[in-house]
């Protein structure tokens, strides 16, 4: 029998809503997918050409949708202005407000720089084709522009990964968050998710050749095994009291069945891509991708929504029921819808997946002639 019964106390609802989960998910995917676009576009590796196009598509769509989710979590988007008029540079979040626009601007500039040749070679005579050719602003080969945009975006992308991890890691009041493994696991799960996104997108756009898809799937399996390794290290830090915060988090959470199930679920999700890769490397690529995407999202859901369910002073756990409105399910669906809204025109109308032909070609779009 427990010698303390909490008779009366207060429940604190989560202050970071599912919008935050969506933001951390999408921005992580965007930055790491951008990294995967570099071999094909910046280093001109022929074997990566198509994979990098899918990576850029994923990076751009996620990078544009993520800040919207973040603004939504402020409850009143106009409040973002305060970040720039009264920045407190002791706060990682304040730094993030400078890193995000720096990254997104760099990503847009990089996208334009690497797609210039495709824009310039748009075939057809319609208005859209002409507009695309004009958007190339000439046909001169501007490698310096591409490289400058890539370096800028790599820098700000790394800063975004750093701040998103540190922002969570420095919260001493939440032992589950207060571990140096959080930034590492955020980055690794995001990388796994980005590779997964390429493989899932390929299911619809079919631009990868099979050897490359299998190669990516192997890379994904390796990343997910690293995530599993990170989990084992976290467990060891807690079990052997090598890190005080981790030990406290483990002591609190290990009592609860829901958290035990979550731990097993996470371990299976991390190990499954490697298993599938070994059993059916060719046929399992998109499934491995889907599992990795799910793992990246679930990791953030568990950290944020699960983590906020641990009272700092009270007994037990706070209950959480996903609201159906904007503060819950609708918010999650809305961000997913925004991502789709960005994906469809960018994939179908822009030259991200290859040069376009308007007016006479097979990729003719309604009303463009």
């Amino acid at each position: 029998m427990n010698d303390i019964i909490e008779m009366v106390n207060v429940t604190r609802p989560p202050a970071w809503l599912p919008w935050a989960v969506q933001y951390f998910f999408l921005i992580g995917l965007s930055v790491t997918a951008f990294g995967l676009s570099l071999p094909g576009f910046a280093y001109r590796l022929q074997s990566w050409a198509q994979a990098s196009r899918l990576a850029l598509l994923g990076s751009l769509t996620c990078g544009l949708a993520a800040p919207v989710a973040l603004l939504a979590d402020l409850h009143q988007p106009g409040r973002f202005w305060e970040f720039y008029t009264h920045p407190n540079l002791h706060s990682w979040m304040a730094w993030g407000s400078f890193f995000i626009p720096g990254y997104v601007a760099g990503l847009l500039a990089y996208t334009w720089a690497v797609l210039r040749p495709d824009l310039a070679t748009t075939a057809g005579e319609g208005m859209v084709a002409q507009l695309y050719r004009r958007l190339a602003f000439g046909t001169a080969h501007l490698a310096w522009l591409r490289n400058a945009a890539a370096i800028w975006t790599v820098t700000f992308g790394a800063l975004v990964l750093l701040y998103t991890g540190m922002e969570v890691m420095v919260v001493r009041a939440r032992p589950l968050w207060n571990t140096p493994l959080v930034p590492v696991q955020f980055a690794l799960t995001a990388l796994g998710g980005a590779i997964g996104l390429i493989l899932v997108l390929d299911l619809f756009y079919r631009v990868l050749d099979r050897p490359m898809a299998v190669r990516l799937s192997g890379f994904l399996a390796l990343v997910m095994l690293c995530v599993l390794g990170g989990g084992v290290i976290w467990l060891a830090l807690g079990l052997f009291h090598l890190d005080a915060s981790t030990a406290v988090a483990l002591a609190i959470l290990s009592h609860y069945g829901a958290w035990q199930v979550t731990a097993v679920w996470a371990a299976v999700a991390a190990a499954l891509p490697a298993t599938l890769y070994l059993l059916a490397p060719v046929r399992s690529t998109w499934l491995c991708g889907l599992i990795a995407l799910h793992a990246a999202w679930m990791f953030r859901w568990t950290i944020f929504i699960g983590g906020q369910g641990v009272p700092k002073t009270g007994a037990g756990l706070y209950g959480y029921q996903l609201p159906l409105g904007p503060e819950g399910l609708l918010g999650i669906v809305a961000v997913a819808g925004l991502w789709l809204f960005l994906l469809i025109p960018l994939a179908e109308l822009s030259p991200i997946l290859g040069p376009r032909q308007f007016g006479h070609g097979r990729r003719l779009t309604a009303g463009s002639a």
Binding site: D3, I4, V8, G319, P323
Partner: protein, 212 residues
């Protein structure tokens, strides 16, 4: 603030007066008296005898913002909306607050929340508006047993300072390991309640927010 727990009867009049004074929305609390049923350990058994349970008793623990000298909520605020007044009271500039909730995460006492009406960070201010008018905080004014004592800790003659001196060996703060130097002191705090309580979870919670 000094809280003499032996004088607290858990009547929640502080909770209610705070709600009325500060227009705290339904299901949100700037202060609340947590109530615990504690089983004290029994005496050590003689050889061959079974362990006997000790006495069961109620324990009250008024919780509020601890107005820490080194508050964890202050450096994380991205727009410096949370600040410390010269008298040490930690307050939020609601005009500047963006409702990002980072301070809510950083507070080790779960003392902060996002106000569902304003969508901005909210917390106990020691009723700063009353202090500035020469009054006591509403919770202190309404405390039936006189458990909450408010005063200037820099003034050795204040009631709070004298109480701390008189009970010097029995004064504690919540979660000292967080090194935030809380300025809410407790007299007679059971050690088992000073950190995250390891016990049966809450029997009573506020009702969930109504769907709009």
């Amino acid at each position: 603030m000094v809280v003499d727990l032996a004088r607290c009867i858990g009547c929640q009049s502080c909770t209610l007066s705070c709600i009325h004074e500060n227009a705290v929305p339904e299901n949100s609390f700037r202060t609340i008296v947590s109530v615990y049923e504690l089983q004290d350990p029994g005496e050590l058994p003689h050889p061959g005898e079974a362990q006997q349970s000790g006495a069961t008793r109620m324990a009250m623990l008024p919780r509020l913002c601890n107005h820490c000298q080194d508050p964890a909520c202050l450096p994380v605020c991205p727009v410096a909306a949370t600040y410390q007044r010269p008298d040490g009271i930690v307050v939020v500039d609601a005009d500047r607050c963006v409702g990002c909730g980072y301070c809510v995460q950083a507070c080790p006492y779960d003392a902060r929340f996002i106000n569902p009406d304003t969508r901005k960070a909210d917390k106990c201010t020691f009723c700063a508006q009353r202090i500035d008018a020469g009054l006591l905080p509403a919770c202190v004014e309404s405390c039936v047993g006189g458990a909450r004592v408010f005063g200037n800790l820099n003034d050795p003659d204040s009631a709070a300072s004298r109480l701390l001196v008189a009970h010097a060996e029995d004064v504690q703060v919540l979660r000292p390991e967080m090194r935030t130097q809380p300025k809410v002191f407790y007299i007679g705090l059971d050690q088992r309640l000073s950190d995250k309580v390891e016990g049966e979870p809450t029997l009573w919670r506020p009702t969930p927010p109504q769907e709009a």
